[in-house]
Structure formats: C-alpha cells, structure tokens
C-alpha cells in the first residue's frame, strides 16, 4: 500500500518554481561573489555574522548556528580564512573547550570590499524581478518556512546573540 502524500499539480508547480528560483538566484550570487571576491557565499556569510557580533567575535558553535552551517564546515572555513589573515582564533577564557573566532581588520576590509557587488547581485537576482507585493509575500512565506523548520526553537533571522548572549563574553 502507498501512504505517500504525493504532490498535486499545483504543489508540483510551486515546488519546481521554488527549486528553479533557488538554483538561479544562488548560482548567480555565488558566481559573482567567487569572481569578484574569490570567496564562496558560505565564507561571506561567516564574515557578515562576525562583523555584526559585539567585538567582532563569536564562538565557533554560535557562529555555526547563526550562519546555518555545520560545525565541521565552520571549522574548515575558519581555518582557511585564518590562513588568509581574515580571522584569528583565540581560546575562550571561560570554557577551555571553546574557541573564539575574531574578525581582523584585514577581514573586515575584505568584507567591505566585497559587499557592494554582492548586494548588487542580490538586488538584480531577487528584488529587480519582484513587485513590492511579491516581495512582501516572499518574505512572509520564507519566514513561515523558517519558523516551521526551526521547530519550536526560536531562530534569530536578524543576527542577535540569542537568549544567553554570545556564549562567551567578548573579551575586549
């Protein structure tokens, strides 16, 4: 027997449009970022989160959660960006398991240099194709999905530091 809740035609159409939009938007944005700044989206997002954090500092695990990335990914990425001089790692004074990632001035400079073209590509890919009403609808639907998938757990879309702070107070 077949319990599968198959998609009807309308759902199928929605899913394929969503899929196509995703691929087209992120391909474009990723390519532009790679060409212009030589870094993948994931790295950019890590830099953004760090730049917004107090003291430009975040614990690895907080960074991972806030950038929606696995710990492993962040580990590898930060290692690479540390080689490049964009980030330095310091150990956390209150929990010796912890590591703090700190955005350097160099890293901040790289981010600021990359931002204008990145933002432009996002605007071209998403906002230039939408009416204000469609934009509002997209926001609402996206937030509904995020809320649903983050389960009961709150999920700070605007990057604040969560209910219990950055996990390790910025030591500077």
């Amino acid at each position: 027997m077949d319990h599968t809740r198959w998609l009807d035609d309308e759902e199928q159409r929605t899913w394929r449009a969503f899929l196509a939009a995703h691929r087209l938007v992120f391909d474009k944005v990723e390519r532009r970022l790679q060409a212009g700044a030589g870094m993948p989206q994931a790295y950019y997002e890590i830099l953004v989160r760090l730049s917004e954090a107090p003291g430009r500092t975040l614990r690895m695990s907080v960074l991972a959660e806030s950038a929606l990335a696995s710990r492993s990914r962040v580990s590898h990425a930060v290692a690479r960006m540390e080689e490049a001089g964009w980030i330095v790692r310091r150990s956390c004074p209150t929990d010796r398991r912890g590591q703090l990632a700190v955005l350097t001035d160099t890293g901040m400079g790289v981010l600021e240099a990359a931002a204008p073209d990145h933002v432009e590509s996002v605007r071209e890919a998403v906002f230039d194709g939408l009416t204000p009403a469609q934009q509002a609808a997209l926001q609402e639907a996206s937030e509904a999905i995020v809320t649903h998938l983050s389960d009961g757990a709150e999920w700070p879309v605007t990057g604040d530091s969560g209910p219990d702070g950055p996990g390790c107070p910025q030591a500077s």
Copy 2:
C-alpha cells in the same frame, strides 16, 4: 562615491529569510535523499527529467538545460550513474557530436524507490509550514524570479521538451 543600491531594512529581512528558508529546506531534502537513496539532489533531478522525456531519452545538453545544471556537472553525474547502471549513453544518429542519455529500467526502479520519501521530505519542509495563500504567493514570487532571471528566454518549468523537440528524436 558610492553608487551601491544597498538593501533597506525590509529588503534585508526578506533576503535573510529567503536565504534561511532555502538553506533549511534544501539541507533537509538533500540529507534525506542522501540517507535514503544514496544520491544527491542533483542526481535525482537528472533522473526525473529523463523519466519524463519521450523514450526516457535526452541529449546531454538538453538534459543540462532542463535540470539547470552545467554541462560539466551533467557529464560527471551521468558518468557516475552509468557506472551504477542507472543510465546508458548512446551516440546521437543525427549529430555525431551529440550523446543521448537513456534511463535504464534499473535507473527507473531506483527513482521510483526514492520518490516517496523524497516527496514526503519536500512536503514536510515546504508545504506543511504554509497556508494555501502563502503557497500561492510563494509560487507567484518564485515564478517571477525565474522569469526575470531567465531573461527573455522561455523556461519550461513544467518539463516539456521545448519548442523544437528533444533535440534528437528518441530512436526507439
């Protein structure tokens, strides 16, 4: 001077929600597919396109375009799936540069076995979190983005074979 068309707060919020929604949805779907069927989304999509094509056959370039993938990606992917016995390659009789990818019965079986859980994961990730109105809005916004990014070029979201057929008539 600074010509950058920065995002205002509302646009920023929309973009971050869109970004988060996509990461969460595709992470979930990809993981489920990988765990259940041992294949990435990109492979699944290739199999779907082939299964819908007349004679379960498509030229490599048509396959790439229809799956929104680069030719290189399709080349690598088909090579791997050919090793697995899911696809066979045959040369195109009318254009000796061309290659036809044909879905085998084994491949069709793998696809059919993978489909139920994949569809279920899509439903859980997307539709279970949306009201019907939100779903309709998401479809409209996604299609607007797709239309915008595909430029003037038509883009068959529903996988038909395009204005001039599969490019190489299915020879069977």
